[in-house]
């Protein structure tokens, strides 16, 4: 203990702003205790620096100090391996504000990779989260996982192998996910029960589903809205669904490019969407039973425009997809809307504007009633004006991290 304290003191050097320190941790024995101690000792303004090398960890790490940067030597140089994890759900849990996690990798956590709960201004920059055995049901659920957070920045991250979503933002607001790569996850990127997300310039490939924008009932934060999904490459999402049953993403059909479920004001534009066998874009209602009186299960005020569509929807895998394909003579359009426009808990009539096409409108009378589908194909759907949500603006210091 004493020996260790002295080592830490020696490693502690004044840097940058007055009083701000860098606490350096190096690989080796007792890495668990040394990293965790640095995360406990850090004071606001400090940097916890994880030197290059591999760290074999047995328990989840956590940070609860505001204004701290946790920084490695690069996502292929500083590797936190949780292969031998014995306890706690996630790799690193952040519960404080104005925290930046950058330039390191987290591998093989038993649960989620990097999580923040209730953080304001949480940034994930140039990090890698990976399950190294490839897609497996036993992999952890989420790779990069901010939840109940505000001002979220995910930039230049790489996530592979998550058994739920690679990058998952839940019950949060003011969100930027950009320049990241998600592959071999069940869902590449998922924005759930959240407000104001900009998801752009990402590469989302070889997942089951590419980018999901969902809203679910019975959660403390509900009524997701105002997202822009643009300039992403959503390509070849062809990994069979390996999510454990029961999870909402276990119902995502393989080859769903971009999927919007039960949300409002979602704009999908200027993406390149190619090689997704179920659909390029799907707009669907929440189909499971719920008793939440405040929940709206329909997608509404959705815009799909100016996307570059390659070959998609040649073999749709959603429930009833094969029957519909047969009804349509074997050729299924790349954009699909379930066509549900009214619901007891949805005010007015749900509107969409889909200017990319052709569009398959299933004209379902109610969520999930695929057996009552009256499929119709039109070049486009709807001409309503739906104002585009304003660009997400993060606080300046945080935005600068992602410049």
């Amino acid at each position: 203990m004493t020996r260790f304290a002295i080592a830490l003191l020696a490693a502690t050097a004044l840097a940058g702003a007055a009083g701000a320190k860098t606490l350096t941790v190096t690989p080796g024995p007792d890495a668990q205790e040394r990293i965790q101690t640095a995360l406990l000792d850090a004071k606001p303004g400090d940097v916890v620096e994880l030197a290059a090398g591999r760290y074999d960890l047995t328990d989840g790490l956590s940070l609860d100090v505001d204004d701290v940067v946790v920084k490695g030597a690069g996502p292929d140089k500083t590797v936190l391996s949780f292969k031998g994890q014995k306890g706690a759900g996630e790799g690193l849990l952040v519960t404080s504000d104005r925290v930046t996690l950058r330039d390191f990798a987290v591998e093989d956590t038993k649960g989620d990779g990097l999580k923040s709960k209730g953080s304001d201004q949480i940034s994930f920059i140039n990090v890698r989260v990976e399950w190294t055995g490839g897609p497996k049901e036993t992999n952890g659920a989420y790779g990069v996982y901010p939840v109940s957070s505000s001002n979220v920045l995910v930039d230049r991250t790489l996530v592979r192998g998550a058994s739920d979503a690679g990058i998952y933002v839940g019950q949060s607001k003011n969100i930027v996910v950009k320049r990241s790569r998600a592959e071999f996850n069940v869902a590449g990127i998922e924005i759930e029960n959240s407000m104001n997300a900009d998801v752009f310039d990402n590469v989302v490939t070889r997942n089951t589903g590419g980018i999901l924008v969902f809203d679910l009932p019975n959660l403390p934060v509900m009524g997701g809205h105002s997202h822009r999904v643009f300039r992403n490459q959503v390509v070849d999402n062809d990994t069979p669904n390996f999510a454990p049953k029961g999870n909402i993403v276990a119902g995502v059909p393989v080859g769903a490019g971009i999927m919007v479920m039960a949300n409002r004001d979602v704009h999908v534009f200027e993406n390149r969407i190619d090689g997704n066998q179920t659909a390029a874009v799907m707009l669907v209602s929440y189909t499971q039973k719920f008793d939440d009186k405040a929940y709206n299960p329909l997608p509404r005020d959705i815009v799909v425009r100016d996307n570059q569509l390659g070959r998609n929807a040649w073999d749709p895998q959603f429930s009833g997809g094969q029957v519909i394909k047969a009804m349509l003579g074997g050729k299924v359009p790349p954009i699909m809307w379930d066509g549900v426009t009214t619901h007891a808990q949805s005010p007015g009539v749900a509107k969409v504007r889909i200017s990319d096409g052709p569009v398959l409108n299933l004209n379902l009378p109610a969520p999930g009633q695929v057996e009552a589908a009256k499929p119709a194909i039109t070049p486009t759907v709807g001409d309503v004006h739906v104002a585009e949500p304003k660009a997400v603006v993060l606080p300046k210091t945080q935005a600068d991290l992602g410049a």
Binding site: E33, Q36, D59, A88, L93, G140, N218, V221, K245, F290
Partner: protein, 351 residues
């Protein structure tokens, strides 16, 4: 009663010892935590077996399961200070209060008074600006406990109540992990000492007495009604109590520190605190939100009448990180707890 006997034995030996210095309130209130547990003088002996003057043992009707560890709990209040009674939530403790909990294993759980090894003593100290959580780990000689902020693991072997050998990898939580379970509205709070969980008899050296009555009589607690008018959580393992009440008491003690609207698992929408009445938030027919493989391939938290189809029972019956719940504080499955929750689910009318 067991504890009472141990305490009596301890008190008997006290007579021979010189009167110890009082509890070091200034050490409890110092900004930096003391490096050794003995610095606080909460105990009259180096081994931490005999509480010092002003340190009162207590027990909870339904406690958290921690790998079958024995827990010895104590309350310290500064001289003349009182806790204020609240019917709901934990009491309002004065600055300087300390809640002390030692985790220990007898070599054989069937002989709980013999060969008891202390592993760690955790403190929750009420400072002027809030609670602080600290863990002190005992040495092998059982003569000293030192501060461990970053957590620790060590092997513990014991014989369980059925005579089976158990070997566990015991985990001392790191300081943030203390806070994960002990936070309410993002501030650190005690979990156990609520009126309803203290409202029961304790075997004091002077004889059994209701704890609320005893604390009031000793001047430790102000504003408490007579025990009969205070809320009471049942003992989860008392077969004389209704199944529903036992199950809800168990879930409240073992899950609700995280699974309630104001704590760290609020985003799950699964609320297992005793106050919750909405079936969907208790898990009935509720799909998982962020469970991942913790779902076990099952669709809902609770499927009434069908424990095998209920994620709640599945995760309690696992000891695999990433699947098991709670995710901190245990490595073994609490067989008796799982049995109780399965019985409760089985008894729910299937709709």
């Amino acid at each position: 009663m067991r504890l009472g006997l141990a305490l009596l034995a301890a008190l008997a030996s006290l007579g021979a010892a010189p009167k110890p210095e009082p509890v070091a309130l200034e050490a409890l209130l110092a900004e930096a935590p003391a490096p050794r547990l003995s610095d606080y003088r909460l105990f009259a002996d180096a081994a931490g077996r005999r509480p010092n003057g002003g340190v009162t043992p207590y027990a909870l009707n339904t406690p958290l399961f921690t790998d079958y560890a024995e827990k010895f709990r104590y309350l310290y209040l500064p001289p003349g200070a009182k806790a204020r009674y609240r019917a709901d939530g934990v009491f309002d403790f004065p600055v300087g209060a300390a809640l002390v909990k030692t985790f220990a294993y007898p070599a054989d759980l069937r002989r709980p008074d013999q060969q008891v090894r202390y592993l760690e003593t955790r403190l929750l100290v009420r400072k002027a600006d809030g609670w602080v959580a600290l863990a002190y780990v005992w040495n092998a000689e059982q003569t000293e406990a030192v501060l461990k902020r970053a957590g620790a693991r060590f092997e513990v072997a014991f014989t369980d109540g059925q005579g089976a050998q158990r070997r566990i990898d015991y985990a001392v939580p790191n300081q943030n992990q203390c806070k994960e379970c002990h936070q309410l509205d993002r501030t650190l709070q005690p979990v156990g000492p609520k009126a309803r969980n203290l409202n029961g008899d304790f075997a004091y050296a002077t004889g059994p007495e209701n704890q609320l009555a005893h604390w009031t009589r000793q001047g430790l607690l102000a504003g408490a009604p007579p025990p009969g008018r205070a809320p009471r959580t049942v003992r989860w393992d008392d077969p004389a109590e209704p199944l529903e009440a036992r199950a809800r008491a168990y879930l409240d003690a073992n899950c609700a520190h995280c699974h309630q609207p104001r704590a760290i698992a609020s985003n799950s929408g699964l609320f297992l605190n005793v106050e919750e009445t909405r079936p969907s938030h208790l898990g009935v027919g509720k799909g998982p939100v962020a469970a991942g493989r913790g779902s076990g391939g099952l669709s809902v938290g609770i499927a009434p009448g069908r424990p095998d189809a209920s994620i709640l029972a599945f995760r309690m019956a696992s000891n695999e990180p990433g699947v098991m719940m709670p995710e901190l504080g245990r490595s073994l499955v609490h067989d008796e707890g799982v049995r109780l929750i399965r019985e409760w689910i089985a008894a729910m009318p299937a709709s």
